[in-house]
Amino acid sequence: MPAPGWEGEVPYVIAVVQLDEGPRMMSNLVGVPADPAALELDMPLEVTFEARGNMMLPLFKRAGTGGAR
């Protein structure tokens, strides 16, 4: 179920990411299929910054999968 402005993005992956530094944050997983089979809990991630509108957002991809999308 998409948020307004997200209709073309379905399905997308919302995740709560635990940072090594301590805090937890909501984000999106990118560079992975939006398929539950590919989205195991607790998989190691790394940050990637992506422009969305006039914002740069910290998103996450599977660790070790190369540069930003």
């Binding site: 948020a3 997200w6 709560v16 944050m25």
Partner: protein, 381 residues
């Protein structure tokens, strides 16, 4: 000096479903008149009024009432449980004598509905909305992946929550979804936000309900004197305003704190509870509720429901109107959970449980953000 006893002396629901001819104020007014008629009272008897989202003063003005006490606490779907608790405190404090707790919401038709704002400067606007987390189906459901993994609860057990409730809603003409369901029915309905299927999400309806709260002493002189419902205890609590910042994704801090306060005030134990309502906007909430209220141990709720204990004839009848998933859900369902408890305690429910003396209502507001609990009984405390 013994403490003043509080009663629910009037209770009623409006028509439910799709009601495009009624605005939210109309629904509230209709609910108010029905609940007052149930108690044998009129608007002239009302000196306290509550409302969530819409200002209680707007509602009072529309009804032609000038209350000397009002409460506009608006913390989502459990607001009405909080209102009952606050009304009891106000009556005991002598601030008012007869309180209308009012709900009316055009959740489906959106007639006269106040838009929910998610401004960019708010916490949700800053930290959740940018990631496409916008509506309850993809926010409220987020913690369940962690819950399923940590407790070993299965997707089939999540579906069983709905199946069990369908045994209560089956055949009820007032329930939006009133057919008996199987796990296969639930799991083959369209996926809304993984892992939730359409039948694991609440219906979206128009409707309203109202309660008349007064002292037990005054309730004895009213029309419902022969079917009393007493408030034995209550609690209110909160967790994070953002679901991603919940204290623990697998347990509701609000459920734990509010229910413990309510049980303590009522002086009851779990074995005393004959009937239970747990606010179910989505199918995982009864699982969290059974565990966080302490009816079962950690990770045991799925198996408990699967074993049939919450179905008709089971040892812990749960969500006996079919819940928000099957009966009705206007957006703020808490009023309807209270109404079903009142019906069960009066012996007036569509699927009546034998010998109900004590009923517990657990409400939630926002995405686990707020919580409130009521302990109700037909036995005078």
């Amino acid at each position: 000096m013994s403490r003043m006893k509080i009663a629910i002396a009037g209770a009623a629901e409006t028509d439910l479903g799709a009601l495009p001819h009624m605005s939210e104020l109309d629904l509230r007014a209709d609910a108010a008149h029905r609940a007052l008629a149930d108690a044998g009272l009129t608007l002239a008897d009302v000196d306290g009024i509550t409302s969530a989202v819409e200002s209680p003063i707007d509602v009072a003005h529309y009804l032609g009432v000038t209350p000397t006490w009002y409460d506009g606490t608006s913390v989502g779907g459990c607001s009405f449980l909080v209102h009952v608790r606050h009304a009891a405190a106000a009556i005991r404090a002598g601030l008012c004598s007869t309180v209308l707790v009012l709900h009316g919401e055009s959740g489906r038709s959106r007639v006269g509905a106040i838009p929910r704002q998610r401004p960019a400067y708010g916490m949700l606007g800053q930290f959740e909305l940018p990631y496409g987390a916008f509506a309850p189906p993809n926010m409220f459901t987020l913690p369940v992946m962690r819950y399923l993994k940590d407790t070993g609860t299965t997707h089939e057990q999540l579906a069983e929550v709905v199946v069990a409730q369908s045994h209560w809603a089956a055949g009820n003409p007032r329930a939006s979804r009133n057919k008996l369901l199987t796990v296969q029915d639930v799991m083959s309905s369209p996926l809304i936000a993984y892992p939730f299927h359409k039948l694991e999400c609440c219906v979206v309806t128009d409707g309203g309900g109202a309660l008349v709260i007064t002292s037990a002493e005054r309730a004895r002189d009213l029309r419902t004197a022969d079917k009393p419902v007493y408030l034995l205890g209550s609690g209110e609590a909160c967790d994070s305003p953002m679901v991603s910042m919940m204290n623990d994704m697998t347990s509701s801090k609000g459920f734990r704190i509010a229910s413990q306060a309510a049980f303590r005030e009522a002086g009851i134990r779990h074995a005393d509870v004959d009937h239970l309502m747990i606010y179910d906007a989505f199918a995982h909430l009864p699982l969290y509720g059974l565990e966080d209220l302490g009816f079962v141990g950690r990770g045991e709720a799925g198996a408990f429901i699967q074993a049939g204990h919450t179905r008709p004839g089971g040892k812990l009848p749960l969500n006996t109107n079919g819940g928000g998933i099957l009966y009705t859900h206007t957006g703020m369902y808490g009023m309807f959970a209270i109404q079903e408890s009142v019906r069960q305690l009066r012996g007036e429910a569509y699927k009546q449980v034998d010998g109900v003396k004590t009923s517990v209502v657990q409400g939630v507001g926002g995405m686990f953000t707020a919580a409130a609990t009521l302990v109700l009984s037909n036995q005078e405390p």
